[in-house]
């Protein structure tokens, strides 16, 4: 009987001690910011295009973390992006809604410099400051910084901006997935 009581006392003392340590740690080492938002934001493609209906990638990440938005609202991220988000959040993969948003190949904007009137509207629209120019001066796009968000297209009063798909060059060419050719064997 006394052995039983001793064991009980030891276990109770241990429980109190460990509980105290855990309680102290939860206060002392509390994480202030939400690391989940950063993790989600790291997966998002940072086009800042607003196609998810949120004003930029981080607001969308915050909305996902807060459970206000679905994970399938980012067309530039593609299905690969949805898969990564699903994996991170421990939810099921969810395809894009039927005909909701189309996934386009990566493109960059190109200004037709002969048509540009130098109104600066596109410069104000660009979320990553990838357009250079000044009032009544020709504008041009820094192709390497363009995210292809298309936000500069609607404000242009002379429709001189078009999206040009980024082609494959020797620099960004990728070795394709090896396929083992299947031969038809006649019976």
């Amino acid at each position: 009987m006394s052995g039983f009581l001793t064991a009980l006392a030891i276990m109770a003392a241990l429980a109190i001690l460990l509980g105290a340590i855990l309680g102290f740690a939860s206060v002392r080492f509390r994480v202030e910011a939400d690391p989940l938002v950063d993790k989600i934001d790291a997966i998002l493609p940072q086009t800042q295009c607003g196609q998810c209906s949120f004003p930029g990638c981080r607001p969308y990440a915050e909305a996902i973390a807060g459970g206000e938005a679905d994970i399938n609202q980012c067309p530039p991220g593609g299905e690969d992006g949805i898969r990564k988000l699903a994996e991170l959040l421990g939810v099921d993969f969810k395809p894009f809604d039927e005909g909701a948003i189309e996934v386009k190949p990566k493109s960059v904007a190109l200004i037709d410099e002969t048509t540009c009137i130098g109104c600066t509207l596109c410069i104000q629209a660009c979320p990553v400051d990838a357009i250079v120019g000044a009032a009544k001066q020709m504008h041009t796009i820094i192709a390497s910084e363009c995210t292809g968000c298309e936000l500069c297209l609607p404000p242009c009063p002379v429709d001189c901006i078009q999206m040009v798909p980024v082609g494959t060059t020797v620099a960004n060419w990728k070795w394709s997935y090896p396929v083992i050719p299947i031969k038809v064997v006649k019976a």
Binding site: L44, P45, Q46, Q48, E145, V170, W175, P178, I180, K183
Partner: protein, 670 residues
């Protein structure tokens, strides 16, 4: 004599070296057109520094190094620049890259050589810049700019790579046999720059003639020529370092950090040609072998189209494609239009006999043969599984990037799996993901900065507006000097009046100057009235004194009236001036009214004063003539103009009043 170590794994495929290593280095005829790629090295492509239609000489620089990791490009022969733009290059993708196309004039005129004769005295930086401008790059395969590799100034061992382990290739073999002395001169220059404690030259023992030639050339130099066992891939940099020095270069560590640097014999040869002979890299030794009528080694000008060389060597009818590089690590050329680059060491024409089709691939049976032969000591079957499953993270954890793509695993695979293709696929995917991540990070940074900038601008604007709003009461009253002057004048007047009358309310707003003037005029009038009344009531008691006081008061009232009229006028002027600039609509109206009213009141005051004076004078005529004359005579004189104007204004006011009265009367009649 150093002892040799062994590296892990390795294979010994059939050599096929005798196909091409029996004949001396030949020189094929110049082609009609040469295609010189601008990107023949690791790093930034060279920038073209010639224009279309320009005539160039052999050895003339046509592309300048762009940035630190880059190298110059030179015209391989004399001729005319035909085009600068995208052209087929030696790349497995078959994609186009910027090239300079030169129409050869067949004369092969050379520009004057520009050697660096005093290289022994020249500084390290000077020699490196010189080599960069001479286009010297590593010719072992990686085409890394040699100028960067020479930056290390203390070294334990300098390794010279003459292993040439891949089957079929024999260009380094022939180079060492025929031009050993020049290679050794190149080693001397490199050794001068890097000051190694030992120079080790590693040559596979299947090239006895090359070993003999190099030993003869190195006699007395202290450089050690070592025959290494023939085992593929002993020519890999890490494997050769292991063989010759016993050092294993770990993951993520550069060989230079361990005091070892490795150079290909071809690189050292071109280094010597550049510094001693002043000849930029416009040609290289190239093996033409395989299914050809006349296989052998040639000194090919950079830019010579592959088709030209292969036709010269005798392409066979049963040719089944061409491999650039060796059979283990090379790739099938998508076309033969591309020109020779500094990386082109071998062209193998394929035939069914030499390269039988690879049997059907079967599933991996995890036999472990690949792990046994892997020179990088990896687990190739694991890498294969991860790559096949596109599990890039785990592939990277399994040290995918330590794979040198030597192809030993594919060679021994009993299931005939194209293992290296999977590794190349995985590496390219990881690199692409890395590029995308970098681009996303940059976009995030730029977006964050933009948000910050917009907010900062907003805050600054708000601050500016706030700064403008706070001192507004002071400044809005006097936005321009005219008005300020008017206000100052008004304040001075107020002070004067206060001293004079003692009854001016100090608190009266300054902008109501005209009003105040009117009030003062009214007070003056009241005083005058009172004086008149008093004089009327008590003129009998003290007529002389009374008349005198009345006259004085009348004079004062006049003065006050005049002043009021003047101030009203000044005020009207000032405020109408300022009103034009600041508040055009409301300001003039009240001023005009005030002016008018002041004038009317002044006139009335004057009239009252006159009346008082007259009555006083009439009452006290006999007794105080002198007093009346003294008091009434001098007073009007100095105020003549003002009085006149006041009189006119009073008349006008009277007329207006009369008119109003008449109007009212008419209205009343109706």
């Amino acid at each position: 004599m150093s002892t040799l170590s062994r590296f892990h794994g390795g294979i010994h495929p059939p050599e096929f070296k005798t196909l091409s290593n029996g004949t001396p280095i030949a020189t094929p005829p110049l082609p009609a057109q040469l295609v010189v790629p601008l990107s023949q090295h690791l790093g930034n492509p060279a920038k073209a520094c010639v224009s279309i239609g320009e005539r160039v000489l052999a050895g003339q620089r046509i592309g300048e190094a762009d940035g630190r990791i880059s190298a110059a490009v030179h015209a391989p022969t004399s001729g005319l620049i035909r085009a600068i733009g995208p052209h087929a290059v030696a790349h497995p993708s078959g994609l186009l890259q910027d090239c300079i196309v030169i129409d050869s004039d067949g004369l092969d005129h050379w520009s004057a050589p520009s050697p660096l004769p005093n290289w022994q005295e020249a500084g390290n930086d000077e020699i490196r810049t010189f080599l960069r401008d001479m286009g010297v790059v590593g010719q072992g395969g990686a085409v890394f700019p040699t100028s960067l590799k020479l930056g290390v100034t203390t070294l334990e061992q300098l390794i010279v790579n003459g292993a040439e382990c891949e089957p079929f290739i024999s260009c380094d073999d022939r180079l060492m046999r025929e031009r050993a002395a020049e290679i050794v001169d190149g080693i001397r220059i490199a050794a001068h720059l890097m000051r190694p404690r030992a120079v080790l030259i590693g040559i596979e023992d299947n090239k006895p003639e090359a070993i003999a030639a190099m030993r003869a050339a190195c006699a007395g130099s202290g450089f050690e020529v070592l025959a290494i066992p023939t085992l593929y891939p002993s020519g890999g940099a890490k494997q050769l370092i292991r063989l010759l020095t016993g050092k294993k270069v770990p993951h993520g560590v550069r060989a230079t950090d361990m005091g070892v640097q490795c150079f290909n014999v071809g690189t050292l040869y071109s280094l010597k040609r550049a510094i001693v002979d002043g000849e930029p890299v416009v040609s290289r030794i190239l093996t033409l072998t395989g299914n050809l009528a006349r296989p052998g080694n040639i000194e090919a000008r950079i830019g010579t189209p592959f088709a030209h060389l292969l036709n010269w060597a005798g392409m066979q009818a049963d040719n089944e494609g061409v491999i650039m590089g060796g059979p283990m690590m090379g790739f099938d050329l998508p076309g033969l239009n591309a020109g020779v680059s500094k990386a082109s060491n071998c062209l193998i024409a394929k035939s069914r006999a030499l390269f039988p089709p690879r049997p059907q691939a079967m599933p991996c049976i995890r036999c472990g043969e690949c792990a046994k032969v892997c020179p990088a000591e990896l687990q190739p079957m694991d890498l294969y599984w991860f790559a096949k499953a596109k599990d890039m993270g785990r592939a990277q954890e399994a040290d995918l990037f330590d794979c040198i793509e030597c192809g030993a695993c594919s060679y021994v695979c009993p299931s005939q799996l194209p293992l290296v293709d999977f590794y190349k696929f995985a590496k390219d995917e990881i690199w692409a993901a890395e590029r995308e991540k970098k681009a996303a990070d940059r976009a995030r940074m730029r977006h964050d900065f933009r948000q910050l900038r917009l907010e900062r601008d907003k805050a600054e604007k708000a601050q500016r507006l706030a700064a403008r709003a706070t001192p507004a009461p002071e400044r809005s009253a006097a936005p321009d000097p005219d008005k300020a002057a008017a206000i100052r004048a008004a304040m001075a007047r107020a002070a004067e009046k206060k001293a004079e009358g003692g009854s001016t309310p100090a608190k009266t707003p300054l902008s109501d100057d005209a009003k105040r003037a009117a009030i003062e005029a009214a007070m003056a009038r009241a005083a005058a009235n009172k004086a008149a009344r008093e004089s009327a009531v008590s003129h009998a008691a003290a007529p002389g004194d009374e008349a005198k006081r009345a006259a004085i008061e009348a004079a004062m009232a006049r003065a006050a009236a005049r002043k009021a009229a003047q101030s009203a006028e000044a005020d009207a002027k000032g405020s109408s001036d300022s009103a034009a600039g600041v508040s055009p609509a409301p300001a003039p109206k009240p001023v005009m009214d005030a002016d008018k009213r002041a004038a009317i009141e002044a006139a009335m005051a004057r009239a009252a004063a006159k009346k008082a004076a007259q009555s006083a004078a009439a009452d006290a005529k006999g007794s105080s003539d002198s007093a009346a004359g003294a008091s009434s005579a001098p007073a009007p004189k100095p105020v003549m103009d003002a009085e006149k104007r006041a009189a006119i204004e009073a008349a006008m006011a009277r007329a207006a009043a009369k008119k109003a009265e008449r109007d009212a009367a008419q209205k009343g009649d109706h």
